[in-house]
């Protein structure tokens, strides 16, 4: 019996290990090929690199303007996520504490809007904001992310704030604190766990998003990382070795984020999905 059990355990382990290798193998391939010469990539894509030359990386960094794109991505992601968190938590606080027909109508509209796919909005979106001349700006992109990010974030905050008893706020009000002070000093710190979840979901969404920035950011200098990878890959598709280096470069930042925050990310994604 115990022999059977341990045999089964071993088989399960080997199965998982094999699947793991299968899942990771594509990344391994682009990593090994990013160090090879162009001819070597074509003639033997499966071989290991014989030397670790960084030539491909140097030219990929230059041609895709990597550092610039990285800076753009960081700026857009950080600004958008911070603003979404501030605005959505305030809106949710208002909707929970000042109950009225209006506030329940707003919540319904927000929930309904979460169903709308971006593709159903993008044509009028580009038409309207294109005619107003409000495209091609990183700051406007952050503004749009705020608009698209508010529904889910507000909904998640709303569920959390509903469970907070009013006693704490009452005490602060009695002590003479203003509305905004009560919110920033009493409520917002309590929201920390849900704020982490929302921040992680929104970072992953905005950092990786392609379609919205591809419609908004028209000039080369504004490109975020997914955009510059896309244009680079399209242009240098014959030069596979540099293209591989470009892919590795564009994956590195999010992997670093993953390594630093793995527990929060797994938990945040689990919480977010079950909502």
């Amino acid at each position: 019996m115990s022999l059977l059990k341990s045999a089964r355990k071993t088989i399960a382990f080997l199965l998982v290990a094999a699947l793991f290798v299968l899942y990771i193998f594509p990344f391994f391939l682009i990593l090994t090929n990013s160090f090879k010469t162009r001819l070597k990539v074509v003639s033997s894509p499966l071989s290991l690199p014989t030397e670790f030359k960084l030539d491909n990386y140097v030219s990929a960094i230059r041609k895709m303007d990597f550092l610039h794109a990285l800076g753009n991505s960081l700026m857009v992601t950080v600004v958008s996520v911070v603003v979404i968190i501030v605005m959505a938590s305030m809106l949710a606080y208002y909707l929970v504490r000042w109950k009225s027909k209006f506030s329940s109508g707003v919540l319904m509209a927000l929930v309904a809007s979460m169903i709308v796919p971006f593709q159903s909005l993008m044509i009028p979106f580009v038409t309207i904001y294109g005619q107003l001349g409000l495209l091609n700006s990183k700051w406007m992109l952050c503004f749009y992310y705020l608009g698209f990010g508010i529904p889910l974030a507000t909904f998640m905050y709303h569920g959390f704030i509903k469970g907070i008893p009013k006693d704490l706020e009452q005490a602060a009000f009695v002590d003479g604190a203003s509305r905004i002070q009560v919110f920033t000093r009493v409520i917002f710190p309590i929201l920390a766990p849900i704020t982490t979840t929302i921040a992680i979901l929104d970072v992953l969404w905005i950092w990786n998003d392609f379609l919205l920035p591809s419609l908004v950011l028209l000039s080369d200098s504004n490109r975020t990382l997914p955009l510059s990878t896309f244009y680079f890959f399209g242009k240098y598709t014959s030069n596979y070795s540099e293209a591989m280096a470009a892919l590795v470069l564009s994956i590195i930042p999010i992997i670093l984020f993953y390594l630093a925050m793995q527990r929060h990310i797994i938990k945040g994604v689990m919480d977010g999905a079950v909502k």
Partner: protein, 293 residues
């Protein structure tokens, strides 16, 4: 303190609700209603006009054979992705909750594709399909792999399905893990004391108690694969000859490549109606489950 006079209520709204609601209205609500309005007017070429043309944009959309081709293709993609993603994700979840060595490490590994944007994932696989597989096939003289899958309409669809399953199964695995962890341990212990086999425990206890995890995961996969765009763009770009143009890409191309804004937006509204219908069904199913449990 919350039962204030009208002036106090207005002040609270201006403090907390006004800015976020204005931004939401400008970015989501206005384009939504303008988009609806556009479908009934002759708004070609990216300008919004007031010339009402009734339902002719919708008529043009439904008469476009490419729209139906794309819809049919998307349904095929969704069907296979839905089944494969969920079967694999469920099996992965069972394996990495069985208490084996390094199971947390494996979880992290299976989830990794989810962290990376679809554009980059598509390019990674473009290399794998067009270079590595072909190299493999030629070396081993395997007919199935000796020419690139991306050059053949039928195989390119399967390439997209493989990438979609690879991308999403780690995420769905997390949902199933949450479901498994939610099961009361004493139930499983009691069952194994009564001599229930592990298959018996799986089918009689685990699966019935995980209905909500299945529901969430199935609907999430449904929505994600129905709206697939990024990997479609970077892996096949709809090719060869528009044969792998999924519905989201079809709408994009209709508007921004071929400048058919009116019919394009009509198709976008049809897309919205389908997604909304799916969501309604989901809400209904979830409600019924809650009542039963």
């Amino acid at each position: 303190m919350y039962e204030e006079k009208l002036s106090g209520k207005i002040k609270s709204f201006l403090t907390f609700g006004f800015i976020p609601l204005t931004v939401f209205t400008l970015v989501m609500a206005v384009p939504f209603f303008v988009g609806l309005y556009m479908t009934f007017t002759d708004s070609s070429g990216g300008t919004i006009t007031t010339d009402f043309i009734g339902l002719s944009n919708y008529a043009a959309a439904f008469q476009d054979p490419l729209f139906w081709d794309s819809m049919l293709l998307t349904l095929q993609y969704v069907l296979f992705s839905l089944i494969l993603t969920n079967v694999i994700a469920f099996v992965l979840a069972l394996l990495v909750t069985s208490g084996m060595k390094g199971q947390n490490f494996f979880r992290l590994g299976f989830f990794t594709p989810n962290l990376i944007g679809g554009i980059i994932l598509g390019f990674v696989w473009q290399f794998v399909f067009s270079r590595v597989f072909v190299y493999f096939g030629q070396q081993l003289d395997m007919g199935l792999l000796s020419s690139s899958w991306l050059g053949d309409p039928h195989k390119a669809l399967w390439a997209l399905i493989i990438v979609g399953v690879w991308q999403n199964s780690g995420y769905m695995m997390l949902i199933y893990i949450a479901g498994i962890q939610g099961i009361d341990k004493s139930l499983l212990e009691a069952a194994s004391l009564d001599g229930a086999s592990s298959w018996g425990q799986l089918f009689r206890i685990k699966i019935p108690l995980m209905v909500s995890a299945f529901t969430i995961s199935l609907f999430l996969t449904l929505q994600r694969s129905f709206m697939v765009y990024d990997t479609n763009l970077s892996l096949t770009n709809g090719g060869p000859y528009r044969s792998t143009e999924m519905i989201a890409m079809h709408v994009y191309n209709e508007a921004f490549k071929f400048q058919n804004f009116g019919p394009g937006q009509a198709k976008a509204i049809v897309l919205f109606l389908i997604v909304a219908a799916i969501a309604m069904v989901q809400v209904g199913v979830m409600k019924r489950l809650e009542v039963e449990s």
